[in-house]
């Protein structure tokens, strides 16, 4: 059964080439890509930009872990009548000659100053430049119109502008790093962000970078909302959309509603830092906690901007690679919207130790609400897997890793939402491990899984499954080694953002650091797999996994205007029990046998 009808055949009678077809010489091709308004090319450009920033952020993370290999010890000795203080066990201090402005001061060594800059850099890059745009801007841009059966997003020129804004903002951030980095942490809390490095511009640069990146995020979100409303293919009602599209839609709503608040927050922060307007300065009657409210009003919803797209990817990977109809489609769609709604109600849980009792109680109670829609999702994924024909390929392995790690990350959020336990765990490694399990074990893992899932469609090349699985397993082991140890460290009292620690923590810290190396090797293997695929990969068929959503209808890679004819949707995206996927051989992707009397699939 084909989903394509030829009602408007003749509009595109000529045969179109793939969107990757070069236009003339190298310069002409570069110019074509730089000025393209094709959502696919913009998605690919985003993908590579994000991968580059991920690499930078990853290097900073490895630096942070390297510093924590050994605790810093202060050695004081008297040499020729003078007291000399020196430090042992420092790693990053070796970078001191090339990092400007990190002299030892006030009991903080140059190495510790560099450490502060390294974790700030890691946080800022990973949050604002990698995880927030990762899935929506790259995979979302590429596949949202394809899944809707549209020729492009609603506002293609805005889409290109959003990419340039992203690059522009990233350049600002990198410029600040070159100028010596910042030590404010990614949250820019006052007074760190208003008082440190007072004679340098680099903090302003980084704040400006985050401000600019906000515009990029807003434009993407705005574009997606209008696209979903106006450009669905004929026959595609709201509940015929793939859940990846639902996830993008929910994400876009949060982006549009929350991002402007970070815009004004960062503007006020710049005013505070540059003009000393006093609204965040307690010496002048302002309040730093007001800044925290402003910041988290954006930054908590944005946590869901990071994770909801990952849910969307898992929603695609699991049914396709388990060849089974998704369990509870509508529950899944409403859970997605529910998480988006709840995301605006819980920001205060970042300030349990700073805010008032009443507010803390309200926010604690509301925070537990998040668990309900998320649990619905995890239940539905597991129920989908049950009695499916699971293919243990890379995307599926990533989806299973996601289920494992996201569940841990989600459940460890509950003690943090509880006021009494949070007082102990607040700002400890427990928090660090929790949000890494969600952000990295959730979003990044799903992102990499999604890249593998859609790689054949995006570039028309197959990747080396064996090496990709090796990489996936290494990432899984490395990730858990790195961060599970941090749960233990956190419960024992290791505070976050410290360059040193008591000796008894050293074993766990070293395990964590070894884990970070394994993680790094895993990602390098993936990089190798991708490069190998682009250079020497076999040509991919139109539908290598037997998917049913519209992107598998078109060629691999898609043609310039996505579809030869406007598709008309006549079945749901997960009807694996009734519909033979397009471009597939029934021998390779057989329909499931009819159920015996009394048998249930779930």
């Amino acid at each position: 059964m084909s989903t394509i009808d030829t009602h408007n055949a003749g509009q595109h009678a000529h045969h179109e080439g793939s969107y990757l077809t070069p236009h003339g010489g190298a310069l002409a091709t570069i110019w074509n890509w730089a000025t393209t308004i094709d959502h696919k090319k913009i998605g690919v450009m985003y993908l590579f930009a994000i991968m580059f920033m991920f690499f930078l952020g990853g290097v900073a993370a490895l630096g942070v872990r390297a510093e924590l290999w050994e605790p810093t010890r202060v050695v004081t000795e008297v040499v020729e009548g003078e007291t000399v203080t020196s430090y042992t066990g420092q790693v990053l201090v070796n970078l001191a000659p090339i990092v400007p402005g990190v002299e030892s001061e006030g009991g903080i060594s140059a190495g510790m100053n560099i450490y502060n800059r390294a974790f700030s850099l890691h946080g800022i890059i990973m949050t604002f430049m990698v995880i927030v745009p990762s899935v929506p801007a790259s995979l979302g841009n590429f596949f949202l119109p394809l899944m809707l059966g549209a020729k492009d997003v609603a506002f293609p020129r805005l889409n290109l502008m959003s990419w340039y804004i992203y690059v522009f903002g990233s350049i600002f951030a990198v410029a600040a790093v070159v100028m010596g980095g910042v030590d404010t942490g990614w949250t820019f809390y006052t007074p760190y962000s208003t008082m440190t490095d007072a004679d340098h511009l680099r903090v302003v640069f980084v704040i400006l970078a985050a401000f600019i990146l906000g515009f990029s995020s807003i434009l993407t979100g705005l574009n997606f909302i209008v696209t979903v409303h106006k450009l669905r293919a004929p026959g595609m009602g709201w509940f015929d959309m793939p859940l990846f599209v639902w996830a993008m839609y929910a994400t876009a709503i949060i982006q549009v509603l929350a991002t402007p608040v970070i815009g004004i927050t960062l503007l006020l922060l710049i005013f505070e830092r540059v003009f000393h307007v006093g609204i965040f300065d307690p010496r002048m009657g302002g309040d730093p906690v007001l800044y925290q409210h402003f910041f988290w009003f954006y930054s908590h919803p944005v946590v869901y901007v990071m994770i909801i797209p990952a849910f969307g990817i898992i929603n695609e990977i699991i049914p396709v690679h388990a060849r089974k109809k998704l369990f509870g489609y509508r529950a899944m769609a409403f859970a997605t919207l529910g998480i988006a709604a709840v995301s605006f109600l819980v920001w205060g849980h970042h300030m349990f130790t700073a805010s008032g009792e009443l507010a803390a109680m309200i926010f604690s109670a509301l925070t537990f609400l998040v668990a309900i829609p998320t649990a619905i999702k995890v239940f539905n994924w597991v129920a989908t897997l049950y009695k499916g024909s699971i293919a243990f390929n890379t995307p599926m392995l990533y989806a299973l890793s996601f289920l494992f790690m996201f569940t841990i990350g989600g459940l460890t959020g509950l003690p943090l939402a509880t006021l009494a336990t949070d007082l102990h765990l607040h700002d400890s490694y427990f928090v660090v491990a929790h949000f890494h399990y969600v952000m990295m074990g959730g979003t990044i893992i799903a992102f990499v899984g999604g890249i593998h899932h859609w790689w054949p469609k995006m570039f028309g090349k197959l990747y080396n499954e064996r090496w990709a699985i090796v990489g996936c397993v290494l990432v899984f082991i490395g990730f858990n080694l790195t961060f599970f140890t941090q749960f233990i460290l956190g419960t024992r009292g290791m505070p976050r953002r410290y360059a040193s620690y008591p000796d008894e923590f050293q074993f766990l810290h070293q395990l964590s650091t070894i884990g970070s190396w394994i993680l790094g090797i895993g990602f390098l293997i993936h990089l190798g797999v991708f490069v190998h695929s682009l250079v020497a990969g076999r040509k991919a068929p139109e539908n290598p996994w037997g998917g049913l959503s519209l992107e598998w209808e078109t060629e691999s890679p898609p043609i310039e205007h996505n579809f030869h004819h406007e598709p008309i949707v006549k079945h749901g995206p997960y009807d694996f029990d009734t519909v033979q996927p397009p471009h597939t051989d029934p021998a390779e992707f057989p329909m499931p046998e009819p159920l015996r009397p009394g048998e249930r699939t779930h």
Partner: protein, 236 residues
Amino acid sequence: MTSIETGGNPPQHNQQPPALSTEPRWKRQPFANHWRSHAEDFDACKIGMWLFLTTEVLLFAGIFVAYAVFRMWYPEAFANGSHHLDVHWGALNTVILLISSFTVAASIRNAQLNQQGLLKINLSITLVCALLFMIIKFTFEYAPKWAEGKRPGVWFSYPFAADPNEHIWWSLYYTATGIHALHVLIGAGVLFVVLLKSFKGWYGPKHYTGIEVAGLYWHLVDVIWIFLFPLLYLIH
């Protein structure tokens, strides 16, 4: 149509087909090929603009929240600070913005009815209003206050301050009105582009997306001011 009827000159040689080149610009305007019709393109642009206005409202929300919090804390500082503002200039600026909103709404009507002359006049009046607003803001409000030392934060040096937190009031005053003034400038810039395009005949019945979205933006700037005016000038 144009050359033959108005001047009676012989038609000029044109590379475009004559039937098309004589049509006004707005009739020749195609819609992007991922849309199914002009109406959809127009609708989508409007939804997009409303979403963008949402972001603008939430941008100002930050200022309003800061205002609410500090007013809750320092009501006297705010009352004292508000007394230093001249309500007459504020009211005049409100009237100016309301009139400019009216002319923008009227210019959309002009485009819908193909009244090209009135369209340009109304847009020009809007721009003049924007200019007047900025002149009043800077010469009669900012400049004298700054000179008297009524400045934000640590710059505050007004010797007769009656409350130790009055600089917070001035910080919020300058932030709120400054960001609003920036939006007035952006809106005026967009409307200027629209005016230039209207001289080239870009807008006509059912083809006035540019005016519509620029107008929505301008009305929003007006709405923000409608709230800023009482909050800043009328409290005591």
